[in-house]
Symmetry: C2
Subunit: 205 residues, 2 copies
């Protein structure tokens, strides 16, 4: 046991929290002591929620989003447009797009982006299953909604090469000046792309 | 279930993390998804560390610090000076003082400070047990090492009133300009106190 810690149990719990991304040992200590101050039922509820999630979570067999059922709520919803598929990196992105209430199709969750630096190749992602989904027919449009990073662009291009001859319409979400941004503070790459990709103006858009 | 979440299990785990101090729902989501990406054994180790700590943690019956045993390692150490007791707010403060390697006495952990705003009164803290420890004899000096906040000062004054006639020497840790601080950037209250509480200079201190 580290001499610094008054208790091995405490040190172990702090060590586990400190493994989480963005949590240092001081923050970990603060979180653990908070849980210690709660009653047993509250601390157990915390631990059980983590354990149950990890043991019982499912991934939708169609879109690979996290789900409580074999087919997720979105894929199982007959009112969603099954001919349009939005390709995203992870579950947070699904939630972000859903929050806009502007998309009524289905999703395909890749589970990451191609990143040679992190050892993530195309086979570590749900790309093959996307190609199969398209090959099975019924999909008219695939919308790429990936981050505008090197990795996101690489992944988008990889999918483009795989699907360019499939007959499906491929599109990418618009990239440009954010709503509310002042032009003089926009970075020049974004501003440049928003000029190149300018759109017909109808007076309101 | 909140429509936003694709899974009730996920929502529950995120909700539990978001109850922790300083953790919002976005951070909670990031932490939970990190745990989901780990293998089952890693996620279980995390949950078990929390559960075991909460169920099995003990508090030293002498100083009330967190401990794995009835009497903590510091109180049980015959080489520590049992006649000097340092009063601190919590376990982190014990660790901070220990890290200085400048204190060789025992501790008394109050478990907080008096804070009417948060509903914390003297009876919610280990003050009565401190008085008893002093009454039992053997303690020559009680050092108050509390935060220099309104609550810390109130708590210190409360303990002062309880112990002023006990015959024990009461002292408070020095407050002044931090080592490495530039005078012109020190706040005026700290600077003022450091002038009032000036000490004889021996050429090195």
């Amino acid at each position: 046991m580290n001499e610094q810690y008054p208790s091995a149990l405490l040190e172990r719990a702090v060590g586990e929290f400190a493994k989480l991304p963005g949590i240092g040992r001081k923050t970990a200590m603060r979180l653990v002591l908070h849980l210690l101050r709660q009653n047993v039922a509250t601390a157990d509820a915390f631990a059980d929620a983590v354990k149950t999630l990890r043991h019982e979570v499912k991934y939708c067999h169609v879109c690979h989003n996290i789900s409580d059922t074999e087919t997720c709520r979105i894929c199982a919803n007959p009112r969603r447009d099954a001919s349009t598929v939005c390709v995203v990196e992870n579950v947070q992105d699904v939630m972000a797009v859903e929050a806009t209430q502007q998309f009524h199709g289905l999703y395909h969750v890749l589970g990451g982006v191609i990143s040679p630096m992190d050892g993530v190749g195309p086979n570590d992602l749900e790309i093959e299953s996307l190609i199969r989904r398209v090959d099975e027919g019924g999909i008219k449009e695939v919308i790429l909604a990936l981050s505008t990073t090197m990795e996101g662009d690489t992944t988008g291009f990889y999918i483009y090469r795989k699907l360019e001859n499939s007959g499906v319409k491929l599109s990418v979400i618009a990239r440009g000046i954010s709503i509310g941004d002042e032009l003089e503070y926009a970075d020049e790459i974004t501003l440049g792309r928003s000029i190149v990709n300018r759109m017909p103006f109808n007076g309101t858009n």
